[in-house]
């Protein structure tokens, strides 16, 4: 010992400036090679196909519908997150399980740095696999002709969520070095997702919007087709999930064995920054409000996001009237013209009969929910505005759902519902009932017009269920004074009814007519 202390210190060799990054890169490469994550990725990919891709193929070919289940409701995160957390916990607990913590502590490189390299390798595998899976899914969608814009912001949220799961799981492994760390982290991940879903389904506003499986308000009926997916909520979720990841990684540097005082102070700052980002994101989500195009967070909102998506319409003709749709709805043009033709023929020649039909972006209405929105007839010459996205639930045509024979099928049952829904919405707009049920006289004329379109009175109560709920509940049978008046009006015959409508349409639309004034 004496000899050692008396010996002159050996001069330290000067380090090349590039040595540190090179060593870090080498360490990362070793960690990537020795990581357990690739072992689980085939299973995750299979679950991704089963849980995220497969159910989405039953939806009509629009990105917003195909991705609502897997992105909007966070199923891609559920497929990846818990497993990534479990494997990350396994990697984080490595030193503790192998009793090499002391051994690793005495090496020149701070243990915190080595742990970050292990985590980075785990996260690179996980996030990379997530992006590959989503990329392949979108490529398949594109091959199938799915229309609209992909929800890129939600892809970023998913990737950040996977990184957050890996960081949180890794921290569990570091602080709970046991064989049970992995299942515990995975179980906690599943449970957190379950609680997130529970709260998300229950709370449609406030702080709960920050939860990654809360689908309220994030996808609107025509997002990515007529207007953009608003980035406000995704940005807040990126902050939230990124904050969790940063805070979890910061925690690793706090214990004494992590490194020197400077490094531990830096870790403390990182932890505080992560917690602050998470808290800020929750606070921002609390200020969110639902706009027609999605969730708006005033502090994050950019007016440029409200700009509509430009497009060149595709047009057809229904009873001689031009019908123009967004090109994303091109597969449904024939169905739309076929459904509108009887309605347009029924009112042909009447004042206020539309001379053009133009699709408009459907908007979400809190009181009516998605899938229900009235048509409007405005301007001179009259233009029928058709929010086709509001009838997504009844859309006919290719659903993209491969049947048992692997071929795509026409939803025959839905086609009838689609025709009837469009007939109802058209008649409702024509009598001027707007967004309400309409006066009894308007309801009677609406019923008579629908019968003229080929929807029998007896079938109309069930058709009315497709209408917005604010239109008053439909009765179970076609009886009562409204239907009595409708039968009287229908009994006049087409020519007499047209003549009566031409005379009284203005009074009918202004709501001044009563049932007794109908012929």
């Amino acid at each position: 010992m004496t000899a050692m202390t008396a010996a002159p210190a050996r001069p330290r060799a000067p380090r090349a400036a590039s040595a540190a990054p090179l060593t870090a890169a080498r360490l990362l490469r070793i960690e990537l090679r020795r990581n357990a994550m690739p072992w689980v990725l085939p299973l995750i990919a299979a679950l991704f196909w089963f849980d995220s891709y497969r159910p989405s193929t039953g939806q009509p070919p629009f990105y917003l519908l195909r991705t609502f289940w897997n992105m909007g409701q966070g199923h891609t995160i559920i497929d990846f997150g818990p497993f990534v957390a479990g494997v990350a916990a396994w990697m984080g607990s490595r030193d503790g399980r192998r009793r090499t913590r002391d051994l690793v502590t005495v090496v020149p490189r701070a243990r915190y740095t080595a742990q970050l390299a292990t985590w980075a390798a785990t996260a690179i595998w996980a996030v990379g696999a997530y992006l590959v899976c989503v990329g392949v899914m979108f490529a398949v969608y594109a091959h199938q002709g799915v229309a609209g814009e992909p929800p890129w912001w939600w892809v970023a949220v998913g990737a950040t969520a996977v990184a957050a799961f890996s960081a949180a799981g890794f921290a569990v492994g570091v602080f709970f070095s046991s064989r049970f760390a992995a299942p515990l982290a995975a179980f906690a991940g599943f449970f957190a997702m379950a609680e997130s879903s529970q709260t998300g389904f229950r709370d449609s506003g406030g702080w709960a919007l920050i939860l990654p499986t809360n689908s309220n308000g994030n996808f609107q009926p025509d997002s990515g087709i007529f207007y953009r997916y608003l980035p406000d909520l995704p940005i807040a979720r990126l902050m939230f999930l990124g904050g969790i990841a940063v805070a979890a990684l910061g925690l690793l540097g706090l214990p004494a064995w992590a490194g020197g005082p400077r490094l531990r102070r830096a870790a403390a700052v990182i932890t505080v920054a992560g917690v602050a980002a998470t808290g800020t994101a929750v606070g921002l989500a609390s200020t969110a409000r639902l706009s027609p195009h999605g969730i708006v967070i005033p502090a994050l909102h950019d007016a440029a996001s409200d700009q509509p998506i430009r497009y060149a319409p595709v047009c057809g003709r229904a009873a001689g009237v031009p019908v123009c749709l967004n090109p994303a709805y091109r597969p449904y043009l024939a169905d739309v013209t076929a459904a509108l033709a009887p309605a347009l023929r029924e009112v042909s020649g009447l004042p206020g009969a539309p001379v053009r039909v133009s699709q408009v972006g459907a908007l979400y209405d809190y009181s009516n929910g998605v899938g229900s929105e009235a048509m409007t007839i405005t301007g001179h010459p009259p233009l029928l505005s058709l929010p086709l996205g509001a009838t997504l639930g009844t859309l006919p045509g290719p659903t993209g759902d491969p049947g048992p024979d692997g071929r795509h099928h026409h939803r025959a049952s839905a086609t009838g519902a689609f025709d009837q829904t469009l007939g109802l919405l058209f008649a409702h707009a024509f009598v001027g009932a707007g967004n309400r049920a309409g006066t009894p006289a308007q309801q009677a004329v609406q019923a008579s017009l629908m019968q003229g379109m080929g929807i029998p009175l007896a079938a109309q109560p069930s058709v009315l269920n497709f209408g917005p709920p604010s239109w008053a509940p439909a009765g179970k049978s076609a009886s009562g004074p409204v239907y009595v008046a409708a039968r009287r009006l229908t009994a006049l015959g087409p020519a007499a009814r047209q003549a009566w409508l031409a005379t009284h349409l203005t009074a009918l639309r202004s709501g001044q007519l009563t049932l007794g004034q109908l012929p």
Partner: protein, 242 residues
């Protein structure tokens, strides 16, 4: 190092142990400790408390049957994952070469832990049901209090999911035995959300469904058999996640 401090001779081979009963229990005890079974029992008890809390306070995911069963099914899956992970052995080949009692120990541990998990969860379900506003008691009350299918369905679900865990442990290693139950949970949730009829998704079937019970029993029996005869995959013997 010298022998200066040693005053007693080494034990003579063949001398009868002072307490034969304790000596018989020593091997199982060492096995259980090496598999961290005491910690596993603690975790299973904690999962029981979680199940009790979920039933007592009516935690429920809104939605269809898949959503409503998710929490109890997730807790059963957690218990199954814990049971599966106990199959991980730290000794590898030496233990396999030297331990002729090993298959019996594996069998006993798997059965005992499954029984312990069922006991803890059933007790929690019964307590949660009686403590909740449903006001029912006992095993039947478990169903009334929110545990779908009652304790019979829970036994079936738990046994089947433990079976998936044991099979995964045999295939991928004991440390990764948890992956099987978690994957099965996810598959079950998707199947429950749809209209599945296959009995292999046994949680989707009523408690008295014979096909579902047979499938769950088969998976459990296969898992126990494989883990008894072969043990969990050893990373020193076969390539497995390290």
């Amino acid at each position: 190092m010298t022998t200066a401090g040693v005053h007693r001779s080494a034990p003579v081979a063949g001398r009868r142990p002072a307490r034969p009963a304790l000596a018989v229990l020593r091997l199982p005890w060492l096995y259980l400790v090496s598999r961290r079974v005491p910690a596993a029992l603690g975790l299973i008890a904690a999962l029981g408390v979680l199940l009790w809390a979920s039933l007592h306070w009516h935690w429920n995911v809104a939605g269809g049957p898949a959503a409503q069963e998710f929490i109890s099914l997730a807790i059963e899956t957690g218990a199954a994952a814990v049971v599966a992970v106990t199959t991980y052995g730290p000794f590898g080949e030496p233990e396999r070469a030297a331990g002729r009692w090993l298959p019996y120990l594996r069998l006993g541990a798997a059965l005992a832990l499954t029984a312990a998990a069922f006991g803890a969860l059933a007790a929690a379900a019964a307590a949660g049901a009686t403590g909740g506003t449903a006001g029912a008691a006992g095993a039947a009350g478990a169903a009334a209090g929110g545990l779908a299918g009652g304790t019979l369905a829970m036994l079936r679900n738990l046994a089947g999911i433990v079976g998936t865990g044991l099979l995964t442990a045999a295939a991928a290693g004991g440390a990764f035995g948890w992956v099987g139950p978690m994957a099965y949970l996810l598959v079950t949730e998707v199947a429950l959300a749809g209209t599945t009829t296959t009995p292999w998704v046994w949680p989707a079937h009523p408690a008295h469904d014979r096909g579902a019970a047979i499938c769950a029993s088969l998976v459990y029996a296969a898992g126990v058999a494989v883990i008894t005869v072969r043990g969990a995959r050893n990373s020193g013997r076969d390539p497995a996640p390290e």
